[in-house]
Symmetry: C2
Subunit: 422 residues, 2 copies
């Protein structure tokens, strides 16, 4: 299927993928040449990027642009990546969260706030790397199946890059969410089916059509590397230091494993001190196959049928679930889950303590952070980072019956006084 | 009324307002001491901040934080402002807009994208300065009347700062917009009336109650200075150079006059070369009192009753309208207006060319940019900046019948092929 998807150019230009050297199978270690491939030809295991990194200094990175391309030497992108029109995502705020920390009893807490990315989620990071791959592979169409954040990011990045985009969504998606993507692309295609049907169709198209780059299908190895930049930024923003503990949402599980990969790379490159850190995964109870496996102490994921308000985390059969278990077990972390009500509570808690309005995925992560404290799984004396992956404006429905006006008064000072507002 | 609003502390701490020296009347030039005042005791003219700036170098600014506090020496804030919890707004992207430029026939076009601020509009800048003033004046309540962006910014900043917030809105405001503010504050107060009624009530409360800082009423002089940071950032991001032309939306008119003030300060401080620049104001036809005055060549604003989808610009009697006329006339610019349909077209145009989803205010500004080209008022060979003040997710309704799915297909490859999507 790989060869048919994005036809490999006869000759890739030198350095098309930066210091990447090959695609390497995460299961059997078999390596193949860089191209539009995502499954190992030997064992069908997932492929990821292998590199031969040069020496990279803090000074070089700090002199770079204020977006993910400051780490371009560590990504599968060419050295002139900034010259190609892109969304310039990343280098989002790392906020000291003293109010939330006080509320939860954590001494030293930070929120990595990816809701301020160009299309308001971390997906801008991964899509930027996928776009670079699509360009280098001479793809004609930049596409994805999605119900939300990914669709926004692909449609916007494609518009700015001047590449044709096609975004596939389930036809029953709420109209406001359709608008969020249709604003950027004239090719929003509604598919009569659920997300799994849309995803399956995308894989079929990727297998049959030449020149289509589906970000999360046939250029997935490049795409996934974008999540490493979350890890790089957290370390740099802490003053080139790894946090002691980090809490990360788990959908496919890719983001969590890539943040860990980023930390490991920084250690190997000598950019941060080698020290222990614990990685925690966050799921919603209504879609918690990885949490269930972690708690059961097994190393296989049993797929589930998702039923949660955290729709951007609702992947019932997460591709990287087993690797999440590896990371959390290796680092002494855990995977935990919370109910939809706990997700809603956590959204309000984060907004009212830190002024950050997160989507349901972020509510899940903050909710799990709280639960990890309450269950004694998190050491409250250690420096802790929690990732907010997207903006609450995208999942307003989830909390619209939770918050609202406290009082309604007549437009007069007397009415104000009578209402005893404060 | 001023003295009753936020009670002046017996002793303000040294440097509470940085290098600000006084409040100066824009009409008669009378100066009074710094405090919670906004109207001249002599002539009732609007007060603005006067400074005695120290020498400020580019290097000092560049070594500062990646937010508006890099310019703290030029703002009415203390030198330790970063130590107080705040939203850390600003230093948003200045995007080279080659696609939009090509579409409009402008050679060298940039978009200053303030939709990526913490609460997704430029209001985070002004509110951050108002918050500092409220803190230094020992205010007990941080408040505003608003229907949208300002309410979001005040509620979020207050939450993070740990100061009590009260946000007043018209009771008929759509429920999603109520949620956008209520998420951050438990004190969202619905007022039975229109925005003018709410605004009037806010002024009454500010006049009667001690300890209330209404950002856009009694600490307005401090608040308004925050808009200068848009001008500083544009100049710095262009490589310490002023643009030749800039297009700015006009609601009260404050932002436009403050960007001009910022450019003038940078010239006086020797941080940029003194060169001509032209400032253009953008209004929606349904609320275009400043544009009407400009076109009529008069220097008085005739108030109007707003009727436009650009609700964040819908101020029928803009306080700084006459100063907008001054700036646009002095610099050889203009004030122009566009219809609601042109606003909608411009929102789609910006999204599809640059991947930036703007609210109706930004649609107004980009629409006016287009009209300025078509009417020959803008020189298309000169470097031009257009400001995007807020995010389209906040005004989805305005374009929800404009964009949507292009096709609906069955979930099969055959159906995909039959639909001839590309």
């Amino acid at each position: 299927m790989s060869a048919a998807t994005v036809e490999a150019k006869k000759t890739l230009r030198d350095g098309a993928f930066g210091h990447a050297t090959a695609l390497s199978c995460r299961e059997c270690g078999h390596q193949i040449e860089l191209g539009p491939h995502y499954a190992c030809p030997e064992c069908f295991g997932p492929l990821e990027i292998a590199y031969d990194f040069p020496e990279v200094t803090k000074a070089e990175i700090e002199a770079g642009p204020r977006n993910i391309w400051r780490y371009k030497a560590l990504l599968p992108v060419p050295s002139d990546i900034e010259q190609s029109p892109n969304m310039e995502p990343g280098f989002t705020r790392l906020l000291k969260a003293n109010n939330l920390g006080r509320e939860l009893g954590i001494d030293n807490l930070w929120v990595k706030d990816d809701s301020t990315n160009p299309t308001n989620s971390f997906k801008d990071r991964v899509v930027a790397c996928a776009l670079s791959a699509a360009r280098e592979l001479d793809a004609k169409v930049f596409a994805c199946p999605s119900t939300g954040n990914l669709a926004n990011a692909v449609a916007a990045a494609g518009a700015r890059a001047g590449i044709k985009t096609v975004v596939f969504i389930p036809s029953n998606l709420e109209q406001p969410k359709q608008v969020n993507s249709a604003i950027y692309t004239e090719n929003l295609i509604a598919v009569e089916g659920n997300y799994d049907d849309v995803n399956k169709l995308a894989s079929e198209i990727a297998g049959e059509e030449d020149g289509w780059a589906f970000v999360n299908v046939n250029v997935r190895p490049y795409y996934a590397e974008g999540s490493k930049t979350l890890g790089y930024e957290i370390a740099e923003q802490l003053g080139w230091r790894l946090p002691d503990q980090i809490v990360i949402p788990v959908a496919s599980g890719s983001q969590l494993t890539k943040v860990d990969k980023a930390f490991q790379e920084l250690i190997k490159l000598g950019l941060v001190e080698d020290k222990p850190y614990r990685v925690f995964g966050a799921q919603a109870e209504g879609c918690s196959p990885v949490s269930a496996a972690f708690k059961a102490g097994v190393d296989a994921i049993r797929p589930v049928k998702p039923d949660t308000i955290a729709k951007s985390l609702a992947i019932g059969n997460p591709a990287d679930g087993i690797y999440v278990l590896d990371v959390c077990n290796r680092t002494g972390g855990a995977v935990e889950d919370v109910t939809d009500d706990q997700v809603r509570d956590a959204i309000v808690l984060l907004a009212r303590t830190e002024g950050v309005f997160t989507e349901t995925a972020g509510g899940t992560t903050v909710g799990v952070l709280k639960k990890l404290v309450e269950t004694g799984q998190l050491d409250t004396s250690l420096e802790t980072v929690v990732i907010n992956t997207g903006h609450g404006l995208k999942t307003l429905d989830a909390i619209s019956d939770r918050v609202g006006a406290r009082a309604t008064i007549a437009p007069s000072y007397d009415a104000f006084v009578a209402a005893k507002i404060i």
